[in-house]
Structures are given as structure tokens and as C-alpha cells.
């Protein structure tokens, strides 16, 4: 059995739940462990109830576990909400300065977090960091790595040192009072190549590696940290991040920048993308390469801003009037998010069309450890982009009709005049109303999808190639589904998992072949109506046997998938 410890920090907004959770995750990652961490927070700046879960393991982890081994409850609410989630043998650390009616038991570790913080670090604000020290003691991890991480996080000045003192206070208190009761031993390992990174950060890094130099985006949870990260690096890397007046402006700005020759991207959530839809059609019509990241959250309208859902699949597949080719990529893991972002920029320029990178809050804001990305494997392919040397520039036609549908792309400012139009246009790019040219231009644009289709990676199967039951998922449910398959197979059920992360053009042939094999197939989706199931039926004619759906704004857990599937098949 792999070693796996699940920690949870709970408290209200403003208590530093996120900081403590992040430092826990970072310290274990730096010590060579695999880590997956997610946060559950409300759409408010102070108060409410937030928690941060950190799963630490000596083998790969891609999903959170619902059972908690060590609960660090910073307030009374956290005690009440989460004590029921403790695993057999799990322990709860609580603040004796605050908590009431805790009861008694060997698994309850009361620590005067606030008063220790005041006494040792000079402020009760650092009660969270005292708790952090306790957690490192209970896991036998030691405090050395945590001290480094605290100094990086809070700075080497007074704030950093006070936090180090607070952590040491908690650590020492735990050693003195709870010795002999420590549950797990997570000694640092000898491995130093693990990055701890969120999905949004992976996308930002992917965009930077792919040569994206222009971002225009309007802040919207859960996509905002992409633009924030890139803006923080803009001067250093020579890229520009613009926060315009609205999402409409954002997509039109990246279209202008891409037309001029920059690799350009926007990032938003579903409702922000709703405002961009008109611009998506413009990119399709003018054959302008853009990348739009859509980090889904529960909708319609404002929905649940800080929660997760996969409810925008059907929307993005057909968004904007008329027919034009597009690509939709939906990363399943944080590593996938990096590589599919690179791919998105290449698709966009090679096929001169809009590419949508569809993620969700779960993937966007969860942390995971991945080995450092090997940038030497990043290939930048700009397709038929013409340099300054253009033969016979006076004869250049931006939308020249070619067998592949892809026209050589010159940039404005060179010798050739580059003309394009949101109206239907001729090869030169000038507006027309001629029926024949209209037909030819439609076919030319649509033809690009034929070769794009060949570049869609075949869907991945987890588990045996053939099995009695196949679970089907897309995007961020990947981790939960893999673990559910492991559990089900461990219990003797013959189950495998088909994961789709490149959704459009839809890999119809491969999916048809795979779904012809199992006796029964079930789609598992974080939405209310089974949007992937509809897509599969539309593209292959295959009707899956059932949908396992969840649309309460919270992610799937392996245990939930296991119990839902058992209801279907047993």
C-alpha cells in the first residue's frame, strides 16, 4: 500500500487557511513527496468557512481523499463541520483558546494556538502558523524544510521570522505534549525535482513557453490567476497583459494582436466567455489564431463563483453563429494543462483558428506536484507564417484558397498588404456578396478541420484495454476516475476508464471502436445533463448506458464514483 496522509486546514476567510495549506503542500513537495491539494472557499474576503486539503503520498496522487488523517481546525466551525470526516485513526488539532464542547478522546489534540502565537510570535494572527508547526510534528516531518518555505512565503524580514517562531512554538508544544501519539512518519525523501503548481499556473507557464506575448483578460474567478501570474512576469519576460473594460474588448484585443503577429490569449470563465462569443466568430471568419482559456464554474449566470462544474462543454462547441472550425482541448491533469496550452498555440497558428482550452475551478486552483517541465520538448510551430521575404507581394492574398484550406499568412507592416474582413470576403480579404465565392470560402475554412482532426491525440484508456464496464470522463475528473477504477478493480469489478482531453474535432473513430467493446458504459460528468454523453451520441451514434452526474458545485471523489457505479451495475 502506498503511504498516503491527508491533512485538512479549516477556518474562516482571513485566518490564513490558504497560507497554511500552501506551506504544508509546498514543504512536503520539496521533501520529495507527491502532493495534491485543493481549496474550498466562499465568494467573500472575510468570514465564512474555508478549508484547504493536502494529500501527501509516496506515489502519484491526482485527487483529494475524502477521509482526513490530520485535521487542523482553526475555529469552532471547522471542528463541527469536519470532525465527522476523520479517517479511522485520524486526529484533530484544535485551538483550546477558541473551541468549545470538543469532548474527549486520544485523537483530540488541543493546543492553545492563539495564546502561543501571542506569546512566542507577538500576534494572534499567527495562530495558523502555530498549528502548522503542530502538523509537521505529528507527521514526524521535522521543521527544517518548513522554515525555508515560511521564509520564502513571508519574506526574510520580521514577518518571516515571527512566523518561523510561531511554527517552532507549535512544533515544540506537540513534541512535549503528544509524544508517542504520532500517527504517521513522513520523513523527507531524497528527490528534488518536484514542482508544486496549480492548473492556472501550469497554463500560464505553458503560454509563456509557447511564446505568448500578449494577454488581454477581464478578471473572473476562477481564471484570474492566469492573468495575474503573467502580469507579474510581464516586465521580466517582455510580455504584455492588458486588463480592458470588458470581455468583449479582451477577445477583440487579442484578435488585433494576433492579426499583427503576436501569440495572444485570453482567460475567463463561462459567463465571461458568453460575452466573447461574437469575437470567437470573428476569429473564425478572419482566420485569426487565438487561444481562449475557459475555466468553468457552476452556471447559468453568476452561478457559484468559487466552485466547480463541467457545464460549458456543449456551449463552447457551438458558441458563435454559423459554421467554422475550432479546437477544444480539455486538460485532465495539471501536467496536461501545461502541454495542451503549448499545443493550443500551435493549433491556433497552424490552422489559423480559435482554440479553446476548457478547464474548471477544480483544475484551475488545485495544486499538484509534477516533475519539472522539460522545456526542451516544447516545440513552437507557427505554421504557414511568412517571413519578410514574400515573393511578389503585390499578388499576396491573405485568404488564398488552398487544398488544405490553410492560407500562407503574412503580417501587416511587411511588403504585402494584409486584408481581412468580418464580412464574407474574397481571397484578398475584401468584402463580397457573390454566392460562388461565399461557398468556396466556407469550404476552404471548414477544410482546415480535416487535417486538424488527424492531430487529435487518441483518447487514453486507464486499466485494461477491454473490460465489462467502461467509465467515460473528460477534463478534470481524470484523477477521481482513475482512483475509482483502482478501488473497483480491487473489489473485483472489471472496469476501465476512457479519458477524453482533446474534445474537438471529436475523435469519433477511436471512441466508436473503444465503446463497441464493453458490455456497459457510463459517463461521469460534473454537470446536470450529461453533456459528453450527448456529444458521444451525436458524433458516434452510441448511447451510453447511464450518466453519473454531480452538479452541486463540488468535485467528484473516488468514493462517490464507486458507490454510484455500484448502484448501476450490482
Amino acid at each position: 500500500m502506498p503511504l498516503s496522509v491527508n491533512l485538512m486546514v479549516g477556518g474562516e476567510a482571513g485566518q490564513g487557511v490558504q497560507s497554511v495549506g500552501f506551506i504544508l503542500a509546498k514543504a512536503f513537495a520539496r521533501g520529495g513527496y507527491h502532493v495534491f491539494a485543493d481549496q474550498d472557499y466562499e465568494s467573500r474576503v472575510r468570514g465564512g468557512h474555508n478549508f484547504f486539503r493536502v494529500r501527501v503520498s509516496d506515489s502519484e496522487v491526482e485527487v483529494i481523499s475524502e477521509e482526513v488523517d490530520i485535521l487542523l481546525a482553526l475555529n469552532q466551525e471547522s471542528v463541527e463541520f469536519h470532525r465527522g470526516e476523520l479517517a479511522p485513526g485520524g486526529v484533530m488539532v484544535f485551538d483550546t483558546d477558541k473551541a468549545r464542547d470538543i469532548g474527549s478522546g486520544g485523537h483530540l489534540f488541543g493546543v492553545p494556538l492563539e495564546s502561543l502565537a501571542v506569546k512566542k510570535a507577538g500576534s494572534k494572527v499567527m495562530a495558523n502558523t502555530v498549528g502548522l508547526g503542530v502538523a509537521f510534528a505529528l507527521t514526524s516531518y521535522g521543521l527544517d524544510i518548513a522554515v525555508d518555505v515560511l521564509r520564502e512565503h513571508f519574506g526574510a524580514g520580521e514577518l518571516g521570522e515571527s512566523n518561523v517562531k510561531a511554527a517552532a512554538a507549535g512544533y515544540e508544544y506537540a513534541i512535549e505534549n503528544f509524544k508517542g501519539k504520532f500517527k504517521d512518519s513522513l520523513k523527507p525523501l531524497d528527490y528534488q525535482n518536484r514542482m508544486l503548481i496549480t492548473g492556472n499556473e501550469a497554463i500560464a507557464l505553458g503560454a509563456i513557453a509557447a511564446g505568448c506575448t500578449f494577454v488581454a483578460a477581464y478578471p473572473m474567478t476562477p481564471a484570474t490567476s492566469i492573468m495575474e501570474y503573467m502580469a507579474s512576469k510581464s516586465d521580466e519576460l517582455g510580455l504584455i497583459v492588458v486588463q480592458p473594460e470588458d470581455e468583449i474588448s479582451a477577445i477583440n484585443m487579442i484578435i488585433g494582436a494576433a492579426f499583427a503577429g503576436a501569440r495572444a490569449m485570453t482567460a475567463t470563465s463561462g459567463d465571461g466567455f458568453a460575452l466573447m462569443v461574437e469575437g470567437l466568430g470573428l476569429a473564425g471568419m478572419t482566420e485569426t489564431p487565438i487561444v481562449a482559456v475557459i475555466a468553468q464554474r457552476p452556471a447559468p449566470a453568476v452561478g457559484l463563483p468559487t466552485r466547480t462544474e463541467q457545464g460549458d462543454l456543449q456551449f463552447v462547441l457551438t458558441a458563435a453563429p454559423g459554421d467554422f472550425p475550432r479546437a477544444v482541448l480539455a486538460p485532465g491533469t495539471i501536467e496536461d494543462a501545461f502541454w495542451l496550452t503549448v499545443k493550443a498555440f500551435n493549433h491556433a497558428e497552424r490552422y489559423q483558428l480559435p482554440v479553446i482550452l476548457l478547464t474548471d475551478q477544480l483544475l484551475a486552483s488545485s495544486y499538484s506536484t509534477v516533475d519539472k517541465f522539460d522545456l526542451s520538448l516544447v516545440n513552437i510551430d507557427r505554421g504557414l507564417l511568412l517571413g519578410e521575404e514574400i515573393e511578389r507581394p503585390s499578388e499576396y492574398k491573405r485568404h488564398r484558397i488552398t487544398p488544405s484550406g490553410i492560407s500562407p499568412r503574412a503580417l501587416p507592416g511587411g511588403d504585402a498588404l494584409v486584408v481581412t474582413d468580418a464580412d464574407e470576403h474574397d481571397e484578398e480579404g475584401h468584402l463580397i456578396e457573390d454566392a460562388n465565392i461565399r461557398t468556396q470560402m466556407m469550404l476552404k475554412r471548414l477544410r482546415k478541420a480535416d487535417s486538424l482532426r488527424n492531430e487529435i491525440r487518441q483518447p487514453q484508456i486507464y486499466g485494461p484495454e477491454e473490460s465489462e464496464v467502461t467509465l467515460i470522463g473528460w477534463g478534470s475528473t481524470c484523477g477521481a476516475l482513475k482512483e475509482a477504477v483502482d478501488i473497483l478493480r480491487g473489489e473485483g469489478l472489471d472496469v476501465n476508464f476512457l479519458h477524453l482531453n482533446e474534445l474537438w474535432p471529436f475523435p469519433s473513430g477511436a471512441v466508436s471502436t473503444i465503446l463497441a467493446r464493453p458490455r456497459r458504459s457510463f459517463v461521469v460528468e460534473n454537470n446536470a445533463t450529461g453533456q459528453l454523453a450527448r456529444l458521444i451520441r451525436a458524433e458516434t451514434g452510441i448511447r451510453v448506458d447511464g450518466n453519473i452526474l454531480k452538479f452541486d458545485g463540488r468535485p467528484f471523489t473516488p468514493a462517490l464514483i464507486v458507490s454510484e457505479l455500484k448502484k448501476e451495475v450490482i
Binding site: 513557453a209 500578449f214 492579426f259 495572444a264 522545456l375
Partner: protein, 283 residues
């Protein structure tokens, strides 16, 4: 040597006598006066009869969506500040559908020259009221008469535009000179052009404008004075001023971005390894 012939484009499909012809000629005159090659110009237009203008001359062209000229122009200008970017819109396009972009582009001060063909009516869709139609103007969609008109000059000054001018499509020489000044201005320049619509606006005709307009050049008027400019912006009716109404020197958006001092984004060599130093921060 750039000549008028270099700017000869396709034959316009505008109504005979349309004010757009004067604007087209004035723009070409201005570009020739400044000796700018067509290949260095990017014209971004919207939808409406004005949106067709770039097709009838020479240059790089992005004929964009209704109301969205300015964001497209801004993205292109930031990506390649070496382009001379002219945005072309109509009054419905620029002051209705695109009003929010207008306000915020003025505020951002990107180096774009914005020509608004202001004929106070919708021409392409055949005669509905526009944001600048005179109060009470009766059309098929406004049988009770149009609402109070938007004042683009005052709005531009309030929004922070550094160059605000008004021209008249019937005075090509004056308009061309105004466009020259607009292009030379470093930052966002609005040129609202009074453009008679011979098909759908029987009120604000060439004759109607000729009786009312007067030039600010030569008059005792100082466009650097913001309060005076606001006051001048209120003049409409019996007397309508044309010329430079407000002017203020301030850094253009592109000049404020240190990143662009290293040259245009579009000339960057794309190198994946530049992300390498960022990766270490995640270890």
C-alpha cells in the same frame, strides 16, 4: 514618394453624393501629405457604411465587428507600435455599440487615430435613429422622436482623450489637415466627422452644415484649455465649431509600457527556454 495613386482602391459602393467620399479623399490626402506607405498603415473598421472605407483605398485592413474597432486596433497597435493605426467607425458603431470601448480607449490613450463618420443616422440598415440623431428626429424605429443626443466631443474630453477634433466631410482640405494632426498626435485622437447622409438624413444636409459650421483655426481659441474645450463642446445648433477642440500632450499607452522599449512584440524571437527560470520558483 507616396502619391495619391498609391492609395487607389476598389470602386466604392456608397450612394452618389455620400459624405463618405469626402472622408476617404481627406484620409488619403493626409497619408500622402505625411508620406506614409500603404503597407505601414493598418485600418481597422467596424460595420456600417463607414466600415467599408478601408476596402476602397489601400493599406492593411481589418474590417471588424460592429462597435469593436477600437479593441482590435488597440491589440494590433500594442503588438506592433510601428504600424500607423487608423480606426474607422460610424456614429452607431462607435458611439452606440462601441461606446464603452470608446470611453476606455480614450482613457487608455493608445496611439490610434479614430475617425468617426457621424451622419446622425443609421445608413446601412436604412434610416434608424443613431446616438447622435438630433432630439426629436423621427425615424421608423423612433416614431415619437429620437432621445437626447450623445455629445461625442464632450464625452471624449471627459474620458481623457488627448486630441479631440471635429471635421466636415464637405471640407476635404480642412479635414485632411485635421487627420494629419490626429495621426501626428502621440496617443488617442478622436476626429468626429460631420458626414451628411444623402439617403436617410434629410435634416442634417450639406447645406444645413454649411450654414452653421465655422473654423476654430484663426479664431481666438486655445485647444489646450480644458474648460474652454468643454464649453466649446456644447456649441451645437446655429453655430457648430470644427477644428481641434481639445489637445493635451501626455504619454501614449505604448510609450508607458517598458516592455515595448525593446521593440515590437511581433519581432520577438519565441524561445521556450525563457520559461526555465520561472520553473525554479515552483520547486
Amino acid at each position: 514618394m507616396v502619391k495619391m495613386a498609391d492609395y487607389a482602391g476598389r470602386k466604392p459602393a456608397w450612394c452618389p453624393g455620400c459624405g463618405n467620399f469626402g472622408i476617404l479623399t481627406a484620409l488619403e490626402n493626409a497619408l500622402v501629405t505625411l508620406q506614409i506607405e500603404p503597407s505601414k498603415v493598418l485600418m481597422v473598421s467596424g460595420i456600417g457604411q463607414s466600415g467599408k472605407l478601408p476596402h476602397y483605398t489601400k493599406g492593411n485592413v481589418f474590417n471588424a465587428l460592429h462597435g469593436r474597432t477600437l479593441p482590435v486596433a488597440t491589440g494590433a497597435k500594442i503588438a506592433n507600435p510601428e504600424l500607423i493605426v487608423i480606426a474607422v467607425a460610424g456614429d452607431g458603431d462607435g458611439y452606440g455599440e462601441g461606446a464603452n470601448h470608446f470611453i476606455n480607449t480614450a482613457r487608455r490613450n493608445s496611439d490610434i487615430t479614430y475617425l468617426v463618420h457621424d451622419n446622425q443616422v443609421y445608413g446601412l440598415t436604412k434610416g434608424q435613429a443613431s446616438p447622435t440623431s438630433d432630439f426629436g428626429f423621427v425615424t421608423k424605429t423612433t416614431p415619437q422622436g429620437a432621445d437626447m443626443p450623445l455629445n461625442p466631443i464632450a464625452l471624449a474630453i471627459a474620458a481623457g482623450a488627448g486630441f479631440v477634433g471635429r471635421g466636415f466631410a464637405g471640407d476635404i482640405e480642412h479635414l485632411a489637415q485635421l487627420i494629419v494632426l490626429g495621426i501626428q498626435h502621440r496617443g488617442f485622437a478622436l476626429i468626429d466627422v460631420l458626414q451628411p447622409c444623402v439617403s436617410f438624413n434629410r435634416k442634417n444636409t450639406f447645406a444645413w452644415y454649411r450654414e452653421r459650421i465655422y473654423k476654430l483655426e484663426g479664431a481666438d481659441y486655445h485647444p489646450e484649455d480644458k474648460l474652454a474645450a468643454f464649453e466649446k463642446a456644447q456649441e451645437w445648433g446655429d453655430k457648430i465649431p470644427i477644428g481641434v477642440i481639445y489637445r493635451e500632450e501626455k504619454p501614449a499607452y505604448e510609450e508607458r509600457l517598458p516592455v515595448l522599449r525593446k521593440g515590437p512584440l511581433v519581432q520577438r524571437k519565441l524561445d521556450p527556454m525563457q520559461a526555465e527560470k520561472l520553473l525554479a520558483e515552483f520547486l
